[in-house]
């Protein structure tokens, strides 16, 4: 099937040829090797073509970009979030004898403290190491925590008066308050916060505790914050849900603090300025409040689709399908006669009455006819069984011996790969493509021969099926060869050698 070969020597490439030198990083290489390891078919193809010199690495992977990209995304690990237990609520261990209280702070706890209490974070950044050492800082912090827990506001006030750094820990967290105010301002006014009966859980029986404000006294004298458990819990929950903003190794407290500060700054600068947010909110509000009936219809410009009556198409399909099925009863030509509707119905009714009157036949079917039918069926079955197998859904492939099947499938995937590269190289504009096509053509010739061999080596039982299976492959290869030859012929007929050095 291969036409005569013409002058085809690989043209020596000019130095300016387009051979991309690829600098692959080691991760890329590893990635590719991993892909090859995992998929044995890919590996076989790779071995056959890249190592066999038919395709280069870059060409091989050029069509598989999606595989490479996919994998790159998988390597990012998930970050572990904050623990939902309140670590920042450290419980000291008390030593009854010496009246000492010991707090233990791990880097994890410190990280959480910084995240939950921005005042402490700010204090740390400013005081350490300029005003006090880290150890002192934490000692003061723990003292403050202890005072909070004892809820002894007088002592707390006294100590705060003495030690101004301690006072920082005992005051209300202003930074937090500011943040909260900012967030409130940014709430979307179009959010529907209407509550209905379903949201009211306080008035359900046995549920909730009514807050009786009369019992609370505001200590106006001191500026000491009264932290309640619910405030702590809420703050902790909010921080946990926000997630871990940093990906830093928890080691040195200072680096953690700085990194946290940086990320907070980045966050706040990423938010649009107030004015812009206001604009957006106003736009959204106007959109939500507009009454659709009073607006002009928003019709997008589009081109209407008009499709012809599909009946015509299906009509012809019918004719085709019947032709394809072949008329086994060629003698029954569909001689169309015309009947009157009334007559037809009358006839049908008559037939039904006839059955009513005469009843059913006895015997239902004549024995000779039945015998003929059975014989016919049996013959038909035994003739088709051989060709088609028992199961209509069973494919020819499954019945071949495994080795042949694998060979054929491998040939098919290689042919597909080669053809993909072959057809994408046309039209040939550079010497690089020309050489590539030559290499591909050689490989295709080899596979062609291999296919012929496979066809011949198969047992005679399956020879017919195998040749039917192999036929589309051969056809595809033939089409490629034919195209190549016509291209060669055209180049040859153009006579003069081309500027990029094609051989005449």
């Amino acid at each position: 099937m291969m036409s005569s070969k013409q002058n085809e020597q690989p043209v020596p490439e000019k130095p300016a040829a387009t051979m991309h030198g690829e600098q692959l990083s080691t991760t890329e290489m590893e990635h590719r090797m991993k892909l090859l390891r995992e998929d044995s078919e890919l590996q076989k193809l790779h071995k056959q073509f890249v190592i066999g010199g038919v395709l280069t690495e870059s060409e091989f992977w050029a069509t598989r970009k999606s595989l490479l990209d996919d994998d790159a995304q998988r390597t990012s690990k998930q970050q572990a979030g904050f623990k939902s237990a309140m670590l920042a609520d450290v419980r000291p261990s008390t030593d009854g004898r010496t009246n000492k209280v010991t707090f233990s702070l791990t880097p994890e706890i410190i990280h959480q403290i910084f995240a939950e209490k921005p005042a402490v974070h700010w204090a740390f950044l400013n005081f350490v190491p300029s005003k006090m050492t880290e150890k002192d800082f934490w000692t003061k912090y723990c003292r403050a925590e202890y005072l909070h827990r004892t809820k002894n506001s007088v002592v707390a006030a006294a100590e705060a008066a003495e030690d101004e750094e301690l006072a920082v820990f005992l005051k209300n967290d202003d930074i937090l308050a500011n943040e909260a105010r900012r967030k409130i301002r940014r709430v979307d006014p179009t959010l529907d916060m209407e509550a209905d009966l379903g949201d009211d859980y306080i008035h359900l029986p046995d549920h909730g505790i009514l807050r009786d404000g009369s019992k609370e006294t505001v200590d106006a004298e001191n500026d000491i914050a009264r932290r309640t458990l619910s405030q702590d819990l809420n703050r902790h929950a909010a921080v946990v849900l926000e997630g871990r903003a940093l990906d830093v190794e928890l080691g040195d407290t200072r680096t953690v603090a700085e990194a946290l500060a940086r990320s907070k700054q980045a966050e706040s600068s990423a938010e649009t300025s107030d004015e812009k947010t206001n604009q957006e909110r106003l736009k959204r509000v106007s959109r939500m409040t507009e009454i659709e009936d009073l607006q002009a219809p928003h019709s997008l410009p589009y081109a209407p689709l008009c499709i012809k009556d599909p009946r015509e198409y299906f009509d012809s399909q019918q004719a085709n399908a019947l032709k394809a099925l072949g008329d086994t009863d060629a003698r029954i030509k569909p001689i169309d006669c015309s009947l009157s509707t009334e007559e037809a119905y009358i006839y049908l009714m008559e037939q039904i009455s006839e059955v009513k009157v005469r009843g059913l036949n006895n015997p239902v079917v004549q024995p000779e006819a039945a015998l003929k039918v059975l014989n016919g069926l049996n013959q038909y079955l035994s003739s088709t069984k051989y060709h088609l197998g028992k199961n209509p859904q069973e494919s020819v492939l499954d019945r071949l011996p495994n080795r042949t099947k694998d060979e054929l499938m491998h040939h098919w995937t290689s042919i597909q790969e080669l053809l993909r590269h072959f057809w994408s190289s046309y039209p040939i504009t550079t010497t690089y493509l020309y050489n590539k096509v030559l290499r591909l053509k050689d490989a295709m010739t080899q596979i062609y021969h291999k296919l012929q061999e496979t066809k011949e080596s198969v047992q005679s039982d399956f020879r017919h099926q195998v040749s039917r299976l192999v036929q589309p492959m051969l056809q595809a290869l033939d089409a490629a060869f034919a195209h190549y030859d016509t291209e060669q012929q055209k180049q040859y007929n153009k006579g003069v050698s081309k500027p990029n050095g094609f051989v005449q």
Partner: protein, 356 residues
């Protein structure tokens, strides 16, 4: 009498068959030439798709829904009204004789197993209707429901109603009138759905289509929808074609749902065909050899010349197929802005198009 184990019936789809088809999807492509996206026979959507997943049947109780074609034009054509060929099927097998084969077949299905059920649906030209349901209880109060007389009575009523509904012309060409196959398929599938929802213990349903009329191309989409839903519910559609020509719809239906398609050669032995091939229950079909046609042609034909092709051009707007390059799509009128290719690049372009 040995009763079936009624505990396990109606077992769901076998897990093996599902995993088998999934495995096939992942492993290897089928050996087909680069296929076109075929719009009208969607059966080739994924080349590695199995046509019908097989269920595990635990017993042989069956529910057979028989769709009986009562197209009066077909049946009357054999009566010698007009110049019909003596080989017309309705001449060898007039409707009365046809009923003589079908009714004993229904009886024999009921005899095969005490729990079997039979439903008869008539396919008319203007309407379809339920004729008989063996689970409906005897209407005459006797011990054995009088199947035959009830069927005949209801058939008569149905034909009369069908005739009343008819608004067509007074004279028609026989070859052009088709019965409402899609309607009766839908009726059958609805009944079967109800059976499915009646609980875990139900007989295994299948549909038997006794088709005499030619395929009506205007019903194409409806019939294909019915076929796909039958495939989805794993209800095999058997076809016994008594008409003049083969039926492409039913071939595809039987192929994709895992049923049996047969066009009997000898019509006076119809009962034997029905009893030997179509009375087999689904569990027994696993180890019985049943006739199947040589192959189903799923190829499309081009819109311009109506010839079957397997490689061509497809309009991206309406998916109509052409065998050679056109400037404008004839179905939807969209213009293609591709420059007409010269001869050398034609095969190249064809390749690119069909590789989509």
């Amino acid at each position: 009498m040995a009763f079936q184990d009624t505990q396990k019936r109606g077992i769901g789809p076998g897990l093996d068959s599902n995993s088998h088809s999934r495995k096939e999807n992942r492993l290897t492509p089928r050996l087909t030439p680069l296929p076109l996206p075929l719009p009208q026979s969607f059966l080739r959507l994924s080349p590695a798709m199995n046509s019908a997943p097989s269920k595990l049947y635990s017993d042989d109780v069956s529910l057979v829904v028989v769709l009986l074609d009562t197209n009066p034009f077909f049946w009357a054509a054999g009566a010698g009204g007009g110049n019909t060929s003596p080989h017309h099927p309705a001449a060898t097998l007039p409707f009365a004789k046809f009923l003589n084969h079908v009714i004993p077949f229904l009886n024999s299905v009921l005899l095969l197993n005490q729990l079997n059920q039979v439903v008869l649906i008539a396919t008319g030209v203007n309407s379809c209707g339920y004729i008989y349901d063996s689970a409906g209880g005897g209407s005459h109060g006797g011990n054995v429901p009088a199947v035959c007389s009830e069927i005949l009575r209801r058939l008569e009523e149905f034909v009369a109603k069908d005739r009343r509904l008819g608004k067509g012309p007074d004279r028609v060409v026989v070859g052009g009138v088709s019965s409402l196959l899609s309607g009766s398929l839908s009726l059958a599938l609805c009944y079967i759905q109800r059976v499915f929802r009646s609980g875990a213990l139900h007989p295994q349903p299948r549909i038997l289509c006794l088709q005499a009329s030619p395929d009506g191309p205007e019903q194409y989409v409806a019939v294909m929808n019915a076929i796909f839903s039958a495939q989805r519910s794993m209800v095999p559609i058997d076809s016994c074609v008594i008409g003049v020509q083969h039926s492409a719809f039913l071939q595809q239906a039987s192929y994709i749902t895992g049923g049996v398609y047969l066009k009997p050669q000898q019509l006076d032995g119809l009962f034997q065909y029905l009893a030997a091939v179509f009375a087999t229950d689904l569990q027994s079909r696993n180890f019985l050899q049943l006739p199947k046609p040589a192959g189903v042609d799923f190829r499309a034909s081009c819109f311009c010349h109506k010839k079957t092709i397997d490689m061509g051009y497809v309009c991206s707007v309406c998916l109509s197929i052409f065998c050679k390059h056109h400037k404008k799509c004839s179905t939807c009128g969209s213009e293609f802005n591709q420059s007409p290719p010269d001869a050398s690049a034609t095969s190249d372009r064809k390749r690119k198009v069909s590789e989509v």
